[in-house]
Amino acid sequence: MAEESKNVTFFEKLGTLDRRWIFLMIALAVIIPLIMKYTTSIPTSPLVQRLFDKTEDLPPGSKILMSFDYGPSTAPENQPMADAFTRHAFEKGHRVYLMALWPTGARQSLQLIDELINVEFPEKGYGTDYIHLGYKAGNQGLINTLLSDFTAMYTTDIEGTSIDEFPMMEGIRTLRDFDLILGLGSGFPGTKEWVQFAGDPGDIPVGGGTTAVMAPLLYPYYPKQMVGFLGGLQGAAEYEYALIQAYPEYMQKSRLASTSMGPQVTAHLVIVAFIIIGNITFLVERSRRKRY
């Protein structure tokens, strides 16, 4: 009896554990692998592989529109996607057009240019291989406008230079002139709106890179309305894996998502442990209540 009451007290204590202990555990689960530089690779799922294959199969010089529809709040998830995809697009010799539906998105694409394109692809020319069109207001209304007249809103690039001065803007009249649209999003407006307002009405291939929160919501669009998409950091790590499999020279460079997946995995295990402990506590308490 004494042993039983001791157990009950233990489980009761567990049930009413101060949440700050849980916070501490989560913080440690993230910090320790970051310090230890624990990385992990995630094999590519069919959903991500299909987007990779689409980019791979496009003829060199294809026009890819990348829309940065997120901000610093979800950059740890979205930015590795943008990095991995841009590396692949440039590797294949495609032309990349950067734009944003979110005011904060233009800053994320600037980061891509500063930290990736200028460093790893200095030979790529601004205005010939890539262009930064920046942000425009209007949300889904902007996509609607671009579908019928791209230059109605984008008259200049982000620095105010007329788009007529850039060779790669030649022949871009509507969204239909792009070979692939990649919506990197974290909410509204984002990937869903690219499917609804561009992909479906314009019959344009749309791929996506979304936060993990949004990813399960997009499954109904796959494979008919979306080429494929990357769901959260895991999706980005899967794309990195596919890139490294196809181009081993990126083994050292393209590891941002895989590096961040180390803490991710550890934190998942801690949360799984919490769920198991929480349920054991619940079951023990329920059986005790039934007994008395």
Binding site: F23, G138, T211, A215
Partner: protein, 235 residues
Amino acid sequence: MEGQAILTTPLANTIGVWIGAFLTLMIFSFLYRDNPFYKFAEHLFVGISAAYWMTVAFWTTLIPNLFARLWPSHMGGVLPSAVGNEREWQYVIPLVLGLILLTRLVSRIAWFSRWAMAFVIGFAAGTNFTRYLQSDFVSQIQSTMVPLYEPGAGVGAAIGGIFSQLVIVGGVICAIIYFYFSKEHKGGFGKAARVGIWVLMAAFGASFGYTVMARISLLTGRMSYLIQWVSGANW
């Protein structure tokens, strides 16, 4: 130019990183309990966010897409590429509607803003009507009703494919039945609704798993920033 010289110095960068780190810690202090540091950071965030959005919208859309079209010859100092373009008078309409929207700030004439709101709502209703009908209704039904058997697959894969497709078709129908409240959920209808709940629960479970994943990723980003700060890597 003077400002540029100051703000690009290594010292300015270090100060910026320290400000960022302290603001990060101020927000994290909420995990212990609500406190003045958190409130300070929270209120600062609200103020600078609103100003950030206003500024970006002003320079990226209002100037090149409205003012440069209405007064191109006056844009020399701000947007030289617009000088020489022809004036496009139809842009008076969004200017007027936009100004009307701002009357909402003045209680006495706030009712006037309904004209602009009516335009916004009319646009959203008109576009959403067709886009949702096409992408989220008709296409979804088309995608659900696909052949059960894919020729060329092995026996195991074919059985698995048929089973999965049946789960999809049955799951969609049952979940829709659950959302239908005009008929009482009894008998066969009630059983289908019950299956619908199970399907929805599986979907919510997947969403929950992915939500956890998303939040951890964001935390990893911040912790990474703090570790760099502590080690002096980003100073």
